[in-house]
């Protein structure tokens, strides 16, 4: 029943009905060191992967706000724009399109109407 620190598992976050179309929600998880980690989960039904999970921490604005950004695409790359200073982060790679920064990305899936993150 227990997992080791290095082994990642699919963890259920919420029901798929908790997702908000074309917008983000946030989940609170613990990382390996036992510190809090926030994950922003976006639901873009019209995009290729439909659901994305990235770190919620904006490394430029230095605040946990990314799930409150507007999502969309820049040259077909699905992105979230930071609500603080509007830089774009790719939802696929976590790369910032304007500056040398990036955020974590997490595998995410919907299983039996449950949203699950590999963490």
């Amino acid at each position: 029943m227990t997992t080791t620190n290095t082994e990642k598992t699919w963890r259920t976050i919420c029901d798929s009905s908790d997702l908000v179309k074309d917008s983000g929600i946030c989940a609170l998880l613990a990382n390996e060191a036992g510190n809090e980690e926030q994950i922003a989960i976006f639901h873009l039904p019209n995009s290729e992967d439909k659901i994305y999970a990235v770190g919620n921490y904006d490394p430029i604005g230095k605040a946990n706000v990314l799930y409150r950004g507007i999502v969309g695409c820049i040259a077909d790359e699905p992105v979230v724009a930071s609500p603080l200073y509007k830089q774009h982060f790719s939802l696929k790679t976590g790369r910032c399109l304007q500056e040398e920064q990036s955020i974590s990305v997490y595998p995410i899936r919907i299983e039996n109407e449950q949203v699950q993150v590999l963490y």
Partner: protein, 861 residues
């Protein structure tokens, strides 16, 4: 010291006179730091705008008319003395002396003494209420006299006389114009045009008496004075205003032996030098080629020539075009070149439409190839084109009459491409097409920047439309193009999207994207669409389909701060608040430990609310009777006001009630950008209304309305839009203006920039709003009425909707708060902790989280 020596060795320039031309000289001369400039002005004020003098009576102050300030001259390193009339010039010692005995040495002396109004020597004319129209002091005297007068007569029906008549009319007097010649504006306009002009001016309630020579002025029976004309008729009046031409102020030159023309004026050569090589004369005191130019543009040209000559550059003044376009009491008048067809062999084409009050004439050369002159009354829309034909000697089309005939099927239009680079676009500041291109070369990216960079369009403003088309044409040629696409997802401007949404009755972003856009949208087009949908349909902005369109500020109905918390700003209409409500604000701030600050918009901001605290905070505020202040929205923010006539000794209208009514009327309106109002109860302007998008200033008779003011990054005084409006008309105009802005403004374009970019500027906006030139005012009012009628407090609606409240829970899987939000105390209040002040937080799983974790693991197995 070295620097002192440099100072001492600077050549000294003394400028006598600080009118518009003298000031222009100073600005141009100061660009060269090798000279020490001293300005001596006999007036008590530094230079001000005489072209717009009559706007003084329409609410502009002396400060508004000022062209410079002592601080500005200090910055330029210019020494200046006001009330310093020069009484002596010692040409051999090169020293001028003022009335008070101060002496100033010069290397070069500039006489820019201007002119004074000519008052014909009429017996009995030298009486108390006989005045002239030239300086701000004159205006003050006219105003004082008007207060105790009922009837005013302007003697002189020229350009300035009609300006003066406008001023008398605006002061509420029964107004007459008396002209010696058989027609008005005889210099600029021919007989046919003069007749029509007279009719139009009379329709406006000014009585015009032509072919009248005043023999004497005696005491009146019903009014103060009686004018006795040579034909035996009489006219009674209380106030007499002389505007019978100008005379050069050349007495200094006369007294100290500079060459003077037979009928006055300081004789100058092509370098603007007088008969003494170290003395220049420029502007209306100067006589060039036996001619005195009474317009500002030629004076500016002389100033530039003098500067260049002093700096050793080659330059020549070779005369100036006297063409002019203006609006006299709402009547458009244009005069170009040889308006009277005096050129040998010239031919004329005339078009007159009496029912509509339009008269147009062009004068062409005998071979019909060159335009020599034109007169336009009632409609000057062809002025720019005609002027360019003449100035640049562009060959006329085969049937030149097509240039002025309405609805000519193939009306020849002169594209701006046809203009040579030397074509003058703005004659007030002598800006050529080449100058505009150079400004774009130097990085100007829109018309606004072209205007501020070249000063084009900032004089009389008559060239604004032409400046825009030249600039736009240039942008397009460079492929910088006037790109109006808001982003990569929509090839439309905000205005075009607005039209699409209204016409096609589109209700959601998805509909709009699939029918007119591409991709998924972005943080640019989504809020624009959200704002447009809100403006057109005034739906609750957090309705499901609109939710994802809003910026975080709109989504959470608060302004996000740097640490991810929000500010709470309830509406305090007009800044008026009861003690009880103020106490509630204090109690809420205390309970939730919010940083509290009074804002510049006369309300209270509460900072540091976590996203999950917003609903309970707002619940308490809404229960106490507060509403959202829309501080987060591109919408009406505040209506700043003074207490007005209710409390203030000086107030003339109830500005407080007006401010509250306006704030309540327009709250919630979604616009291209935020909107601020100001309402002042008197001309002291304590509410700083002229710095607001919509500024309202009380007058004795109602309200003056200003539009397009701005503080912030790029301060701009609002343009005086209309005067002495009653409450109802005021609201009607504001309804129309705001709705027109909401429909046509670009994304994030404040009203100030919107005004600057409106083709046709203020006049155009006045025509649209007050004369309904586009036939849309009814629709604008209806749309505004619908928006006003469907207002809802977004916080109240949100609090009643459990689904909407879910968004304010920070984590979907936990009840905890964001541990990265931390505060420290400063000056007895909280502020966000800086990085080094923060404490790392270790994760302690909550019960709920524990459960999901177990579930997940179980599934995995």
């Amino acid at each position: 010291m070295k620097t002192d020596k440099q100072l001492l060795s600077k050549a000294k320039i003394v400028v006598v006179g600080n009118g518009m031309v003298g000031h222009h000289f100073v600005e141009e001369m100061a660009k060269n730091s090798d000279y020490q400039i001293t300005v001596l002005s006999a007036e008590s004020r530094l230079a001000y705008d005489r072209v717009y003098l009559s706007s003084y009576f329409a609410g502009k102050t002396a400060d508004d008319l000022a062209l410079t300030t002592p601080e500005h001259y200090d910055e330029l390193g210019v020494t200046f003395k006001t009330n310093a009339k020069v009484t002596n010039i010692d040409k051999s010692a090169k020293v001028v002396t003022t009335e008070s005995g101060d002496c100033f040495e010069y290397d070069k002396l500039i006489l820019a003494t201007g002119s004074y109004p000519f008052v014909p020597p009429i017996p009995g004319g030298d009486v108390e209420h006989s005045l002239v129209y030239r300086t701000i002091d004159d205006l003050e005297a006219i105003q004082a006299s008007a207060d105790v007068s009922k009837v005013g007569v302007v003697i002189g029906g020229g350009l300035l006389g009609l300006e003066a008549a406008k001023a008398v009319k605006e002061l509420g007097l029964e107004t007459h114009v008396v002209e010696f010649a058989p027609q008005l504006m005889g210099v600029q306009v021919d007989g046919g045009g003069g007749r029509l002009l007279k009719t139009k001016i009379e329709e406006l309630g000014v009585q015009v008496h032509t072919s009248k020579a005043t023999n004497e002025i005696v005491a009146g029976d019903k009014h103060r004075y009686k004018l006795c004309f040579s034909d035996g008729t009489e006219l009674e009046t209380d106030l007499i205003l002389f505007s019978a031409g100008i005379r050069p102020y050349d007495n200094l030159a006369r007294e100290f032996d500079l060459e003077i023309g037979q009928r006055g004026g300081i004789v100058i050569d092509n370098q603007c030098k007088t008969s003494d090589a170290d003395i220049y004369a420029i502007g209306e005191c100067a006589l060039w080629n036996n001619f005195i130019y009474g317009l500002v543009a030629p004076g500016y040209s002389m100033a530039k020539v003098a500067v260049k000559d002093i700096c050793g550059e080659e330059a020549e003044f070779t005369g100036a075009d006297m063409s002019t376009k203006l609006k006299l009491m709402g009547v458009e008048v244009g005069s170009i070149g040889d308006a009277h067809a005096k050129t040998e062999g010239s031919l004329t084409y005339t078009y007159e439409n009496q029912p509509e009050g339009v008269y147009k004439k062009i004068v062409v050369s005998s071979d019909k190839k060159a335009l020599l002159g034109a007169v336009l009354i009632g409609d000057t829309s062809e002025y720019d084109t005609l002027l360019q034909y003449m100035l640049n000697a562009i060959e006329l089309p085969e049937s030149p009459e097509g240039l002025i005939l309405p609805m000519a099927a193939d009306k020849p239009t002169l594209g701006v491409d046809a203009l040579p680079d030397t074509a003058t676009i703005c004659s007030c500041h002598n800006v050529t097409k080449g100058d505009i291109i150079a400004a774009i070369d130097c990085g100007a990216v829109d018309v606004g920047q072209v205007k501020s960079g070249t000063k084009a369009g900032s004089g009389c403003g008559g060239c604004a439309a032409l400046v825009k088309s030249v600039a736009d044409n240039e942008f397009e040629k460079r492929g910088v193009e006037v790109k109006k696409d808001i982003c990569e997802h929509f090839a439309y401007s905000r205005k075009e999207l607005f039209d699409i949404v209204s016409v096609e009755k589109i209700k959601t972003f998805d509909e709009l994207l699939s029918s007119h856009g591409r991709g998924l949208g972005c943080e640019i087009c989504k809020p624009v669409a959200g704002s447009v949908l809100a403006s057109v349909w005034n739906d609750y902005i957090l309705k499901k389909p609109h939710l994802s369109l809003q910026d975080t500020n709109d989504t959470y109905l608060g302004n996000m701060q740097k640490d991810g918390t929000y500010s709470v700003v309830p509406r305090i209409a007009g800044g008026e608040i009861t003690p009880d409500k103020l106490i509630v604000l204090g109690q809420v701030a205390k309970k939730y430990n919010l940083y509290t600050k009074i804002t510049g918009g006369a309300r209270v901001d509460l900072f540091g609310a976590r996203v999950e605290q917003l609903p309970p905070i707002w619940k308490e505020l809404v229960d106490a009777g507060f509403e959202t202040g829309h501080a987060y929205g591109k919408s009406l923010r505040t209506v700043k006001s003074c207490v007005g006539s209710t409390w203030c000794r000086y107030g003339v209208q109830d500005s407080m009630s007006m401010a509250i009514d306006l704030e309540n009327r327009y709250k919630g309106l979604r616009a291209p950008h935020k909107i601020k109002f100001g309402v002042s109860g008197c001309t002291r302007e304590c509410a700083e209304a002229q710095g607001k998008d919509i500024g309202i200033i009380a007058t004795e008779n109602g309200w003056n309305l200003f539009v397009g003011g701005n503080g912030g990054m790029k301060p701009r005084h609002g343009d005086l839009f209309a005067t002495d409006l009653d409450d109802e008309t005021l609201v009607k105009y504001v309804d129309r203006i705001l709705m027109f802005y909401v429909q046509t403004g670009d994304r994030l374009q404040r009203t100030s920039v919107w005004m600057d970019n409106l083709e046709g500027g203020l006049t155009y906006l006045q025509d649209v709003i007050m004369k309904d030139s586009l036939g849309i005012t009814d629709a604008l009012e209806e749309q505004m009425a619908a928006i006003v009628g469907s207002y809802q407090c977004e916080w109240k609606t949100t609090l009643e909707d459990p689904e909407a409240l879910k968004r304010f829970q920070p984590f979907v899987n936990s009840d905890k708060s964001d541990s990265n939000i931390q505060f420290v105390t400063e000056r007895e209040q909280i502020r966000p902790a800086r990085g080094e002040e923060k404490i790392a937080v270790t994760f302690i799983p909550s019960v709920e989280n524990d459960a999901t974790e177990k579930e997940a693991v179980a599934e995995e197995v």
